[in-house]
């Protein structure tokens, strides 16, 4: 009898709090999005699962001695996991299209307006009662507009760890929603004729350019923005391993097993920040709203920049590729390609959109570095 009572007192049923139940439902929602809707499943599946685990009463996953506690403090609080993932992303990235058409870097720059406008918006939300974002909070939220998961997690873990869960949810959800969010904005801001524009074929890029490019990017970051060197540095290391051609086995491991292992634990660790106290409040609603705004503004900025460039440039530029400047690689580039094909069935924009697409990754990392340098520390 006594044993049964002990057993009952140790059950989840006898110890549930409402907040935990709701957060488990949020976790299940993330699993649903990942599995049924294919929303960035590589991160949202372990993240949703981590959200469930961390909210189990009496299990102590995120308390001292719990698995998720170790994962979070060893991998995310230190910044190691997002940096290792960024190295893997660098090893997967081909900068050929960007080097062939460097002015698309301006599209990647323009799209970062989504970040800084959202920063402004986050501060404006302080007018809403119940919301009190510091400048650090606002900066961490704004980076959602960078459409780059590891960058967002890295910055949030440094500037506003208590918002990390909500920010990661928003970042990955909107990245998955790119095919839904972007097309209406792209169509509203361009004319049928503009969308029909065919672009010139890209020149071929030599091996030496691809090898020196990541080193040049790193050098410039060192000169002008050391705060961004953890992100940019690991990204360029991955890219150099890829392009150098002399360490293929390291490059392959960075792109596959290492990034997979890290992704599992990154997802679990981020999910462990989805506790009721941190997530169930008005601020999370604000973050989700701001995320949508950030993506939309970023997309619009990219398209408008491309329109302007098309008018100035000698060679034609299809404004649709500007939308790819938000990054969300390679989804945003595919969306540009698809919308282009709808207007003109012979218009293959994919390779052209890859330039602004990877430029957006660099742009976001630079923006993250600026925020770290000016707001962090």
């Amino acid at each position: 009898m006594d044993k049964l009572n002990t057993l009952w007192l140790s059950t989840g049923l006898a110890n549930f709090e409402l907040g935990q139940v709701v957060m488990m439902l949020v976790g299940c929602g993330l699993l649903y999005l990942a599995i049924a809707r294919n929303f960035e499943p590589l991160l949202l599946l372990p993240m949703g699962f981590g959200a469930i685990l961390t909210n189990i009463p009496m299990a102590g996953f995120s308390e001292v001695g719990g698995l998720l506690h170790y994962v979070y403090y060893a991998g995310i609080d230190t910044g190691i996991f997002p940096l290792v993932i960024f190295m893997g992303v660098g090893a997967m990235t081909d900068f050929g299209a960007l080097i062939a058409n460097p002015k698309t870097l301006l599209l990647g720059a323009a799209a970062q307006f989504g970040i800084f406008a959202t920063l402004f918006g986050a501060i404006a939300l302080n007018a809403v009662p119940g919301i009190e974002f510091t400048l650090k909070d606002a900066s961490a939220i704004a980076i959602i507009g960078g459409a780059d998961g590891p960058t967002a997690i890295f910055l949030a873990s440094k500037l506003a760890p208590e918002l990390l869960g909500a920010i990661a949810v928003a970042a990955y959800s909107y990245m998955a929603l790119v095919p839904i969010i972007q097309p209406p904005i792209m169509k509203a801001l361009t004319s049928e004729d503009e969308r029909k524009i065919e672009m010139e074929q890209l020149r071929s890029v030599t091996k030496i350019e691809k090898i020196i490019f990541p080193l040049g990017v790193l050098l410039m970051t060192i000169f002008f923005l050391p705060a961004a060197t953890p992100l940019v540095g690991m990204f360029c290391l991955g890219n150099l391993m890829r392009e150098s051609g002399v360490v293929d086995r390291l490059s392959s491991t960075a792109q596959n097993e290492l990034i997979n292992i890290t992704t599992i634990f990154l997802g679990l660790g981020v999910g462990s920040k989805l506790s009721a106290e941190a997530f169930l409040n008005v601020e999370t609603l604000g973050i989700l709203g701001l995320g949508a705004v950030a993506f939309s503004i970023g997309t619009a900025s990219g398209v408008l920049m491309a329109k302007t460039m098309n008018k100035v440039s000698k060679t034609p530029i299809n404004p649709l590729i500007g939308a790819a400047g938000v990054s969300a690689v390679p989804m945003a580039a595919r969306v540009a390609n698809k919308v282009g094909l709808e207007a003109n069935p012979h218009n293959f924009l994919l390779m052209h959109a890859m330039g602004p697409n990877v430029a957006g990754v660099l742009g976001s990392a630079v923006a993250a570095g600026i925020l770290l340098a000016l707001v962090g520390g």
Partner: protein, 90 residues
């Protein structure tokens, strides 16, 4: 309200400084590509790739059908054979 105003000013300055910096940085990168990389590309052109290897790089054009067997298939099979043997040898 005073505090709020100040925050707005801070945010506005951040926006301005941030966008200026991002554009400056990526513009410099354009410059870098157009000068340094372009020069390097001229100075160290890619070596002419041997025919077999070049054929492999044309991603979707290997002729699997038809009477002849494409070199890609032969290469793939021989690679598979090698891997198979290595596994058996271990």
């Amino acid at each position: 309200m005073n505090e709020m105003q100040q925050q707005f000013i801070e945010a506005g300055t951040l926006m301005l400084a941030g966008m200026v910096f991002v554009f400056a940085f990526l513009s410099l990168l354009i410059l870098f590509i157009k000068t340094v990389l372009a020069k390097l590309a001229v100075k160290f052109p890619d070596p002419v790739v041997p025919i077999r290897s070049r054929a492999n790089k044309q991603n979707n054009t290997a002729k699997v059908a038809g009477g002849g067997v494409s070199p890609g298939v032969v290469a793939a099979i021989s690679s598979a054979v090698t891997r198979y043997r290595q596994q058996n040898l271990q």
